[in-house]
């Protein structure tokens, strides 16, 4: 039997397929786009083409679009799924930091189970969206933003609100501040915001999941800010989907 996990996030839709032995046999990531219903349909087509749906299987949906997956056998919240997925990827105990598109979650794991969690409030500062907006404003990709940030000298961006911080960035651009410095300030701002949330539930080691796990500079700065090691891996952006797939296998 296959365990299929579908994580429909605000920015990206992630899919993970586990075989009966619990091995990760397939992953997929694609933009969620405007409609989570369409994203779910797109995933169904993909799974059909891959032949996954022709085999015995169970589907668990998670993420903010979890209710938009009519073919899911069960929906589970992204907190439980990220916890399970991270426990699988990184082993037993620690604190999972998931920087998502519209929210950031901090999940304390003990024995592979969620013991406690905190999430940011209704605000996009300290989330992937913050970086996305600032990269757009600076007319560069997020990868370039991180690369440039490494070369810049710190330029404080003090506003905690994304909308106001964007105005602050515009002022800095207007003053002729080098892009590297602004990029550096942007990354520092998001890292500081995430670290504040993390320190409500401290306890190393830290595992970074979500869309920013391939952003080396963010990982490095977060570790420095927390004064602890932050581990991540390429599969970590699928942590929610992998957790959902594990839940699906349990349904079998």
């Amino acid at each position: 039997m296959l365990g299929i996990g579908i994580d429909i996030g605000s920015t990206a839709t992630k899919v993970a397929v586990l075989n009966e032995a619990g091995e990760l046999v397939r992953t997929e990531v694609r933009p969620t786009g405007f409609s989570s219903v369409e994203a779910a349909e797109g995933v169904r087509t993909l799974l059909e083409e891959d032949g996954c749906l022709a085999q015995p299987h169970a589907v668990v949906a998670t993420g903010y679009g979890r209710v938009a997956v009519p073919y899911a056998d069960k929906v589970v919240t992204e907190i439980t799924c990220h916890g399970k997925g991270a426990a699988r990827l990184f082993g037993g105990d620690g604190v999972v930091v998931d920087i998502g598109g519209q929210d950031t979650k901090v999940i304390k794991l003990a024995g592979g189970k969620v013991m406690k969690f905190v999430m940011n409030d209704k605000c996009s500062a300290g989330t992937g969206r913050f970086l996305e907006i600032m990269a757009d404003r600076l007319a560069m990709s997020q990868t370039d933003l991180a690369r440039m940030a490494r070369e810049g000298t710190p330029t404080p961006i003090s506003n905690m609100c994304t909308v106001f911080a964007e105005s602050e960035v515009i002022s800095l651009v207007g003053k002729g501040e080098p892009r590297e410095n602004i990029a550096n300030g942007v990354i520092e701002s998001v890292v500081a915001r995430v670290a504040t949330l993390v320190l409500q539930t401290p306890g190393s080691p830290y595992f970074l999941t979500g869309g920013l796990c391939e952003n080396d500079y963010v990982v490095e700065r977060l570790g420095a800010k927390l004064e602890a090691s932050v581990t991540t891996c390429p599969e970590a952006r699928y942590a929610g989907a992998i957790g959902a797939a594990l839940c699906a296998l349990e349904l079998g």
């Binding site: 919240t77 992204e78 929210d103 969620v114 013991m115 406690k116 969690f117 409030d121 209704k122």
Partner: protein, 423 residues
């Protein structure tokens, strides 16, 4: 449904805007309440009251006024109803639990204030709440900075009597509250023109104690598993108790408790045995604020207790009935009301003790500590609540919300994850 438009007109209300409110409530009540299965028959009374929420009880209050009685509108569980009842007056709760009134409130108050205060002033100034309109006097109290200053604005428009709450619990604070109740009694006698006697106050104390005991019986039925009644239904009963005639309130609550006790004997419940049990603590849930309970109870768990003003704080602890002089009775009242562990007190270790005690009594699997936005007092107490519960090994989820529905999906994710964590 009876037509109350003439009465609302006579009360000086804004009928057009009020119609919008009346049009929205049945839909939301239907979606949240009437979709529940196997509700106790005793809830029919409360459903009926909601269906005429701005009609049937205000009409009784209008009648009381025609007969020479006075109506006192109150905002807080610290106001001693006993004194008003003893002088032949009526105490009523006031509107303040819906986003509907918030924009009107923001015309006179800063937007960065708690929605309960904004909605209350919005209901008064917008003339869309008959309980405000029918009140002869508002009774405020100094339980937070926001309310203190809001009463100045309210008081400029209608007589508003302010009770000065102690902020600590030293012996001199109990004395101060005794004096506060005594001064309140002088004002009530002036407004009603009725002389207060120890006999009248003794009767009123007995009556309100009976009401508390009846409400407590309904709440106590929630210690059972399976639960004979949903948390939403008990919340509704408690919310309505703030508006109803105290004798009828006791009678209806006792009838409901009889039914619930029979259900417990039969092992009959509204949720499957073993459903995860949640204790809610934090800021008040004024009618029609049912958002939190609704999300919890449609996410696979049940609310078994509310350690809030529209919960245990309203009915726990009785007033000692043995005093025979007014002075003795004022002191007995003070002793009872000062046992309330509102976050306005500093320090306030009693609240954390209450939460832990109630979580044990009601066999809660977890606690949800939820405060209205901009309530500094409860927001700051969150860390001491969380620390105490962690020590007791009781999981706790802290939330902050307001009356708008736009965060319901975010709340659903957090609450859903918390319930999964308890599983």
């Amino acid at each position: 449904m009876t037509d109350y438009r003439d009465m609302w007109q006579d009360l000086g209300m804004d009928l057009e805007t009020h119609d919008l409110l009346c049009a929205a409530l049945p839909q939301s009540f239907g979606d949240i309440y009437l979709t529940q299965e196997n509700r106790p028959e005793g809830m029919a009374f409360y459903d009926f009251v909601v269906s005429e929420i701005h009609g049937i009880r205000p009409a009784e209050l209008v009648k009381l006024k025609e007969d020479g009685g006075k109506v006192f509108g109150t905002f807080c569980v610290f106001v001693p109803d006993e004194v008003v009842v003893a002088c032949g007056g009526a105490v009523t709760g006031l509107c303040g639990g819906s986003q509907f009134w918030v924009p009107e409130g923001e015309k006179v108050l800063p937007s960065g204030m708690c929605p309960l205060i904004k909605a209350s002033l919005g209901a008064h100034f917008g003339k869309t709440c008959p309980y405000f309109s029918v009140s002869d006097v508002y009774v405020g109290e100094t339980t937070c900075d926001g309310k203190k200053k809001a009463y100045e604005i309210l008081g400029a428009d209608k007589q508003t009597y302010l009770m000065d709450m102690p902020q600590m619990k030293r012996p001199q604070d109990y004395e101060k509250w005794t004096g506060g109740i005594s001064a309140f009694a002088r004002m009530v006698q002036e407004v009603t023109g009725v002389e207060l006697t120890a006999e009248k106050l003794g009767d009123a104390i007995h009556l309100i104690n009976e009401k508390r005991q009846a409400l407590a019986r309904v709440h106590a039925a929630r210690k059972a598993d399976p639960l004979p009644i949903s948390g939403k239904d008990v919340l509704l009963m408690t919310q309505i108790a703030f508006f109803d005639d105290p004798a009828r309130c006791a009678q209806m609550a006792n009838a409901l408790a009889d039914e619930l006790e029979a259900r417990i004997e039969r092992g009959e419940g509204v949720f499957p045995k073993g459903t995860k049990r949640i204790l809610v603590t934090g800021t008040p849930l004024a009618i029609p604020n049912w958002k939190l309970h609704h999300i919890i109870e449609t996410s696979g768990a049940a609310v078994v207790c509310e350690e809030i003003c529209t919960g245990t704080r309203y009915f726990e602890h009785l007033v000692d009935e043995s005093a025979t002089t007014l002075e003795g009775q004022f002191q007995a009242l003070s002793d009872r009301y000062m046992q309330n562990n509102c976050a306005c007190f500093t320090p306030n270790p009693g609240r954390v003790e209450d939460i832990v005690r109630l979580a044990r009594e009601y066999r809660a699997d977890g606690v949800i500590d939820c405060n209205l936005k901009f309530c500094t007092l409860y927001d700051v107490e969150k860390s001491s609540v969380a620390a105490a519960l962690e020590q007791e090994g009781i999981p706790c989820l802290a939330l902050e919300t307001d009356y708008a529905d736009n965060d319901s999906e975010q709340l659903r994710t957090r609450i859903g994850a918390f319930i999964e964590m308890l599983g």
